[in-house]
Symmetry: C2
Subunit: 405 residues, 2 copies
Amino acid sequence: MGVIVQKYGGTSVGDSGRIKNVARRVVETKRKGNQVVVVVSAMGGTTDKLLEMAKQITDTPSERESDMLVSTGEQISVALLAMAIHDLGEDAISLTGAQVGIMTDDIHTRARILEISPTKMQEELNKDKIVVVAGFQGINIKNDITTLGRGGSDTTAVALAAVLKADMCDIFTDVDGVYTADPRIVPNARKLREISHEEMLELASLGAKVLHSRSVEFANKYDVPLCVRSSFNNSEGTYIVKEKDIVEEPAVRGITTDVNEAKITVKHVPDQPGIAAKVFTKVAEYNINIDMIIQNFSEDGYTDISFTVARGDIPRITPLLDTLVSGAGAREYTIDKSIAKLSVVGIGMRSHSGVAAKMFGALAKAGINISTISTSEIKISCIIPEKDAKKAVQVLHSEFELDKE
Amino acid sequence: MGVIVQKYGGTSVGDSGRIKNVARRVVETKRKGNQVVVVVSAMGGTTDKLLEMAKQITDTPSERESDMLVSTGEQISVALLAMAIHDLGEDAISLTGAQVGIMTDDIHTRARILEISPTKMQEELNKDKIVVVAGFQGINIKNDITTLGRGGSDTTAVALAAVLKADMCDIFTDVDGVYTADPRIVPNARKLREISHEEMLELASLGAKVLHSRSVEFANKYDVPLCVRSSFNNSEGTYIVKEKDIVEEPAVRGITTDVNEAKITVKHVPDQPGIAAKVFTKVAEYNINIDMIIQNFSEDGYTDISFTVARGDIPRITPLLDTLVSGAGAREYTIDKSIAKLSVVGIGMRSHSGVAAKMFGALAKAGINISTISTSEIKISCIIPEKDAKKAVQVLHSEFELDKE
């Protein structure tokens, strides 16, 4: 007996059969005596199909209109899921982000949730209805439809769970939990029973696509009990819990690689105070996220600045780099797309020393070259050649004995 | 210089090429110095595809959820059209029915517009934007999405034109105007330069699919200058004008047939006061429209009641008829789907006598059998066998010399 928020991704509602399957799971949860709010993504492939239609119209679609367009994807899913639930004899009502009152800022295509009113949802729950909410979308103060960016439905689910003070937020997906590494790369990767928010956050931002990182932040901030599990079977998922509630603290919880970044090097920049700031302020103005930054030591009053960005941002950053090179007096820039970011994550690093030494030693022994390194309290990342990514994960998984409980 | 509302139907925005074509026409109108509001339907076939998806989920989709589902069709069109307009260098903003504030009653799938606020549209027009509005949809007082029923985008356009006090409401469609008869049936049918609201209303409700009849009612009530024209060429369309502004008043303006009705006869009903009322009250409760009604003369205290309904309503009316037959003490009912309703329309009938005689004489001479007859001040309709429908139109078109100016 409680309030349960469930989220189903695009694969889980990919066709009418799967929608009916989701309806069965939802109804089952309701019939156990719970109040249920379901968040759904667009049916698999729909968003891409809509964006393809936009592309046939123009190469530079307005972001406001893109949001207007792609938000129809979730609206279709919620209507169909509500119908499927009705068909099983339970009452349900579908709601768009606007109808719930999911207020966001006005950065179209990657908006952030500012506020959610629980009133409408609670009214409908109190009428004994299952509430089916369109994920990924909201409205800004001007009443324009906004979207939260890819993976935003996870954030919707956790945010709804937070305002409803839900007893559990289950993220149903096509994998059955969080693994020590991608099982397609490491066959003996182990499913984790639990993981801390901090670790999950690092893994999410490092390329593990299980959960959207904003959703983990929300869950941590608002104490939302969160679980990742499979929509196709009933196996136990992975619980994302407070660090203080974690029993085991191995040095390394998981390993991940991200092959979606590129490394940009601006060469021969005059080594004066404020030059780096100038570069990164400009980049930030374009809403481009910079990940790792390295400034090499200075030589003859000149230095090289390297940083990594998402490969998808390359077309947007290129004109900026052209201006920067001329404006900052740098010589040139290079873009290297054949890199991978390899990361090990674990809250145990706080108490275990020597993790970095062990990691770099194992990689060296395997003949894998490391360039940029970046660390946090619970994470070590380094840039390696993309071609070595899989091998590196396998080597480290075995080095840190992650296959063992 | 003025405010122009243009409406483009599903065929006119059927693919990206056609959307771009519509964008060009809209931009052209804007650049002549007008403020432009464009209403669009879903891309041709989209609504049917969405309903097909619903059908894969359930045979009895909730009407609220159906509206939630199909309203995405227009949302897709408006977003794409706004993008196409941007691409031509003009500013545009797309708005859903909810965003405009098109308030309707809560009869889902065939809602009626109650009120429209011009504020949002005027704000955007004053920012020199082209306003692109999703046709066919609105919201009820509960903030649920409603739809106006098939052809409802015409009504949206005229209603917007009314609240904006527009100088013209152009309905762009795949025919280039209103004809004296369907040109596919009568090759020498003539395009009308003008037609009165009353005549257009009769033609629309009689099966001429050029304009949705609610839209003509609105135009008449709120003095909206209305024109039907082709979205594929620049030929003059047909103006729908006040009766007092019509110069020519021929006895018959146009001829139409409707093969979408069925005739239901409830036989051997006790001929007591209130029985007919009982029958039709029941039918009205189910929101089924009854068209022609005939009660035969009474014999031995029993009578037959016949009426016509849309063929599509047959599945919904059948269980009702079963109850009625037992409840009202009637003997049985029959359903005849092989009928056509043949109608001649013209405000000139008010001053010309003998139209009915001429019509029935010509049909008799052609060996076409007439059953039910119904008349209004400016219309004569009769039921004939469906197989004779085309021939009947041709015979009357020639009899009333409609090919001549």
